[in-house]
Amino acid sequence: MTREEVMKTLNEIFCNVFDDDSIVLTDETNANDIEDWDSLEQINLIVAIENEFGMMFDMAEVSDLANVGEMADLIMSKSENE
């Protein structure tokens, strides 16, 4: 899986979770950029991402993600290790 593919899938998940097809993610996108993205939606996002990519994050990994780019890097590194 390339990083572009990861970003594309993440984008689809975000569109579904927020039911907003106009969302365009960049590496820098964070919770301040999407109105409904609060700590509770963050949970739903993580769960959806785990299900979509078929991987489980541990607590340390998800605790300090700053933006979508870091999330993509995390997914890349986990899928390489598998």
Binding site: N16, V17, F18, D19, I43, N44, V47, A48
Partner: protein, 591 residues
Amino acid sequence: MLKELLYPFDPNYILENKRKIKKTLLEDSNGFVEKKVAILGGYTTSAIKQIMELFLLNNGIKASFYESEYNKFYEDAMFDNEELKAFDPDIIYVCTSNRNIVRYPSLKDDAEVLLSSEFEKYKGIWESLKNRYHCPIIQNNFELPYYRLMGNKEVSDVHGKVNFITRLNLLMDEYAQNNENFYICDINYISADYGLREWSDPFYFHMYKYALNVNAVPYLSFNVANIIKSIFGKNKKGFVLDLDNTLWGGVVGDDGVEGIKVGPEESEGQVYSEFQRYLKEHKQLGVILNIDSKNDLENAIAGLKHPDSELSEEDFVEIKANWDPKDKNFAEIANELNLLPESLVFVDDNPAERHIVSEQIKGVCAPELSSVEHYIEVLDRNGFFEITTLSNDDLKRNEMYKQNAERAKAEASFSNYKDYLLSLDMKGIIKPFEPMYIERISQLSNKSNQFNLTTHRYTVSDIEKISSDQDYITLYGKLIDRFGDNGLVSVVIGHIKEDVCEIDLWIMSCRVLKRDLEFAMMDELVKKCKERNIRKIIGHYYPTAKNNMVKDFYSLQGFTKTSEDEKGNTEWLFEIDDNYQLKNEVIEVER
């Protein structure tokens, strides 16, 4: 109903697409009842609420929510809370888990003391909620612990957490047995069904403060929504069943009676027998069984006469076995039973038939069946008939529908309808509300959609309040005839405002349509008004998608229309004069 929200659903799809699903549900409905649900949580409940909202919408209930602050269920229940008071909940859900248990016994402790103090805490919560909010309460019981310090000994030693939780759950059950309007959400079962290890994965608590796996949330929300829709009268009422490869293996028309698979001889037959027994058990809950099969009638009946068949012809109310399209038969069955099509569940192994029936008849549920050994799983976990209260009428419903079929036959032999009604030897009991019928009255107010002038819904506590309030005239009607007892089938609530009686509710069960009970009720209402020197009765008709049948009801009763708005809401006036002529001539009434 949305297929995506029927069991077996995809929890991940629901979680990810909840906003889109909600939009769809709001778009294609034929009307919702609105209910206020307060969730008092012992942990994060946001997703539980969001997903519950979807399942409720799918059952025709549009909920608004109050959610307590994180882990403030105890404070919200025990102390004055202006916000919750202003919210005025229709139902309260106490969403706790074993993470909320304050103290488990250590080996040195007296387990009995701790058990009773933990239970008393919850009992205090329920009593306080009941006194403050007078509405139904749903309480989670406890899932089993995530670890077992003493291993298998945990279950039998009074200091074991497994033993402690098991006994705590039993105390809760006992409370539920002795208190109306109190319901247990059995997360002990739901978590076991999901898999306790996954359900209680500590990651979700430490990371997000959810006491269950977020992926399991749809299963919890589904169960709570089922309890709520049952309380508000949205349960299904019966099954419409296919025969070939649904009730037995094989095709009776091709294979012959001796060729179909049912009974103990081989494994496939055993599975069908088990399924038939499962269906037959529903009869004791008042669930009506019907058949909709593409078969010659003789073949269908012959199949049911198979010596190993658990179900026989007598177990069914309506049997349609012919070559008409199944949706046509389905609609006829609903019509003959005087039930809304959406209150019947279509059970057929054939996806094409399921598609036709659920596409052609709006709102009909046709759950996806895969292989026969999973039929029970799918039907059962959908909670179509989730029981919250069991009235005597429920228990006798099958019998009553059969009696109706006999009445229909008797009717055919009379040329004059009044002679037919007289021949039924009808006896009505029409009286003010009595405590023993409160539950049934509330149930009827929530279930009646067609013969319902205002479609106001009442909880048990509402009915209790009204029946002791001097400003109301209340009447219930029971109807007995020579074929049997129809039970409590009609309710009228009149609100006295100075010298006028305004009818808040007038409902009647469709199983006693055209028996003149509505006229006997009117006579009684007039009598009660006269006793209080009230000379004016005002009635309202509020149209819904389902109550067109009573559009002109008040006109038939001799009311005069006084107003009508653009939505078709009408107001009617009846002035009682001294020569009021009794309208009922066929029912002997006991008051």
